[in-house]
């Protein structure tokens, strides 16, 4: 009986489909709730019983976030800080990863282990000394106060990913480049990097997401409204006596969009980047 072929809709009912569905719901329901609530008007947000859809539909929360709460400034700050840090991480990570993967040098293993240790170091532990450092440099309330530490904290992971990627590229390809007369930088640019694109995208998206959502340093180093990033900005919405849930939800939706777009565009690369090295070839 067990082996009888199921027909009709019955064949979709099995353990795998059900667990996939449950997992998907865990992710989709909060996201749906976030988006739906961002379009509700303030009165219907707390209503009991809660309304499932945004009725009545209202875009007021969005205009409130941008007009009433300077969300535009926060968004701009986040874009600047995140893009600068990600670009730096990828540029430095490529050079360091290539050197650690390919060039003859001493202490490669030690360097890799130290990098790994740095990448798991709790940010809280370095917050106070970093704050003092930034204050002495006169960098509090500036972009570089976030760009530099973000770069430093995300670099180790990027180096690991990129190094492993470079190791997977046959050495003969670079040797052919050398024989053909390409300089080392030209070899990296024309031969190695095009093949390491999945690794580059993976490292880039991880770094982008980490910087985009970072809260603790952004809160500590940049207290001025003009340099606040999105996570801090949203957290400081509202005052002593009210929490504007609708506006917070609307701002959060806007904040999620760039990451969603990035992952959607590069999804193929990211998946192959995460699984590279799992299977040779």
């Amino acid at each position: 009986m067990r082996n009888r072929k199921r027909t009709g809709w019955h064949r979709y009912v099995n353990g795998v489909s059900i667990s996939t569905l449950v997992t998907a719901l865990f992710i989709i329901v909060p996201l749906y709730w976030l988006i739906a609530t961002s379009f509700k008007n303030p009165n219907s947000i707390g209503s009991s019983p809660p309304s499932l859809g945004p009725t009545p539909f209202s875009g007021g929360n969005y205009s409130n976030a941008f007009v009433g709460y300077d969300f535009g400034i926060y968004f701009r700050n986040s874009v600047i800080v995140t893009i600068c840090a990600t670009a730096l991480v990828l540029a430095l990570g490529t050079l360091a990863g290539y050197a650690l993967g390919r060039l003859p040098m001493r202490g490669k293993f030690t360097t890799m282990v130290i990098l790994l240790m740095i990448s798991v170091f709790p940010a809280v532990a370095v917050l106070a000394p970093l704050y003092l450092l930034m204050r002495n440099l006169g960098w509090l309330n500036s972009y570089q106060a976030l760009i530099l530490p973000y770069t430093a904290f995300n670099l180790p992971f990027a180096i690991w990913i990129l190094r492993n990627y470079f190791l997977g590229i046959p050495k003969e390809m670079e040797e052919t480049g050398r024989i053909d007369g390409a300089s080392p930088l030209r070899t990296i640019w024309s031969i190695v990097l095009p093949q390491a694109l999945p690794g580059l995208f993976t490292a880039g998206i991880f770094c982008f997401t980490a910087c985009w959502t970072e809260f603790l340093m952004a809160l500590t180093f940049n207290s001025s409204n003009n340099f606040r990033t999105i996570p801090v900005g949203i957290a400081e919405f509202g005052g002593n006596f009210q929490v504007p849930y609708g506006t917070i939800f609307a701002a959060s939706v806007v904040a999620v969009v760039p990451i969603g777009i990035l992952v959607f565009i590069f999804r193929k690369f990211v998946i192959s980047g995460l699984t590279s090295g799992a299977v040779k070839g």
Binding site: E175, D180, A182, P194
Partner: protein, 385 residues
């Protein structure tokens, strides 16, 4: 086009491993030289030193008469084809072939014309817009060749370029590589572990073992006159039958196991040094084709073996037999699995297709005594004079 000369080249790695010992070699202008030897014999290291991918520890390398030890690969004006082709997967065939020219800032028209010419020679014209991933193994191999010839280098280096192909294609490409090399007439150093490739392709063949030169010569010369047991066993397939033997009194006969084979005067006249081995042990070698089945009524020297296995190839039969003598295995000349499979006293003979023979038979072989090889038992060096 340029001759290449290696003068006492040594390679010692940082960990102390001495990969190449005092290698001296002259490759003439336009010559096809094959470096052959078992894996780990230093042939690839030697090639990489010529390419400039590996430092030369000591010795002098000259390309086109000019010392090239400290020149970069680019300055040496060489082109190399790797075993795994090392094509750039993100570029089309045309871009792959033209990359080196692009680096030289060649005008676009000229570049395209050269790429087209190379593609024509190699029959790749229809594939120029494809990426390497869409090509078959043989086509990829040709793209790698195209990348090398388009630059019109003075020396071609090839590192086992055919070993990733299946057997049939390999035979085809063997001829093709030779044809291309002859057509453009560039000095070529070709590394392989396959002695058949070495024999069929090389103008001359260099046999290496453990980083030391064993013998250089034309394929036929190496086959007919091996300098030592290693070369004798390595060149030729099936390989030479080598047995421990004793030279009899007056050097008039040689005893292989319990069988005595008479040596005619002519053998001794050709190799007077044999007299020095009178009553001593030595190693004798006989190629499979020098052991035909005895024809009725012949009176020449003979050997009797017990047939173990017969491989009928249509044109001939390869007969595996045993005799009661100790088979000598040259270390490294045959791979370990093969060596382990060789039984005590086993030998191989090529026998005419019509000879009636089956396993278990006692077969009498006519020994082509003039073709018998003699080697010193201790040093393995051939006794030829």
């Amino acid at each position: 086009m340029a001759p290449v000369s290696l003068e006492k080249i040594n390679k010692v790695y940082e960990n102390g491993f001495h990969a190449v010992h005092d290698l001296s070699l002259d490759i003439a202008d336009g010559e096809f030289m094959v470096l052959v030897g078992p894996s780990g014999c230093g042939k690839t290291t030697a090639l990489r030193m010529v390419a400039g991918l590996e430092d030369i520890t000591s010795g002098i390398l000259r390309i086109g008469g000019k010392e090239a030890n400290d020149e970069t690969p680019k300055q040496r004006d060489i082109a190399m084809v790797f075993q795994n082709y090392a094509l750039y997967p993100h570029m089309t065939v045309a871009q792959n072939i033209g990359f080196a020219l692009k680096l030289r800032h060649l005008p676009k028209d000229e570049l395209n014309a050269k790429v087209k010419d190379a593609a024509e020679i190699l029959g790749l014209t229809d594939w120029l817009d494809r990426k390497p991933g869409q090509l078959s193994g043989g086509q990829r191999q040709r793209v790698a060749m195209g990348r090398a010839i388009v630059r019109e280098p003075s020396v071609f280096l090839m590192d086992e370029p055919l070993s990733n192909l299946d057997a049939k294609l390999r035979v085809q490409m063997r001829a093709e590589v030779q044809r291309i090399q002859r057509r453009i007439g560039v000095s070529t150093i070709y590394v392989t572990h396959d002695q058949v490739e070495a024999m069929t392709m090389g103008d001359r063949v260099t046999v290496l073992r453990d980083g030391r030169l064993q013998q250089v010569g034309t394929p036929q010369y190496l086959y007919d006159n091996p300098d030592n047991i290693f070369v004798a066993a390595f060149i030729g397939s099936p390989s030479m039958n080598l047995y421990d033997a004793n030279l009899g009194a007056g050097a008039r006969s040689v005893k292989i196991g319990s069988q005595e084979v008479d040596l005619p005067e002519s053998v001794l006249l050709a190799r007077p040094a044999l007299r020095g081995y009178e009553g001593k042990k030595l190693v004798v070698g006989l190629r499979p084709e020098h052991l035909p089945a005895e024809s009725p009524g012949s009176t020449g020297p003979k050997l009797v073996g017990e047939v173990e296995l017969v491989e009928a190839l249509g044109s001939e039969q390869v007969v595996h037999f045993t005799i009661d003598a100790n088979r000598v295995l040259a270390e490294g000349a045959v791979d370990k699995d093969e060596a382990a499979a060789v039984k005590h006293g086993e030998g191989v003979a090529r026998v005419a297709a019509k000879t009636p023979v089956k396993p278990g038979d006692k077969l009498t072989f006519a020994v082509s005594i003039e073709d018998m090889k003699f080697f010193d038992e201790a040093t393995g060096v051939a006794i030829r004079e």
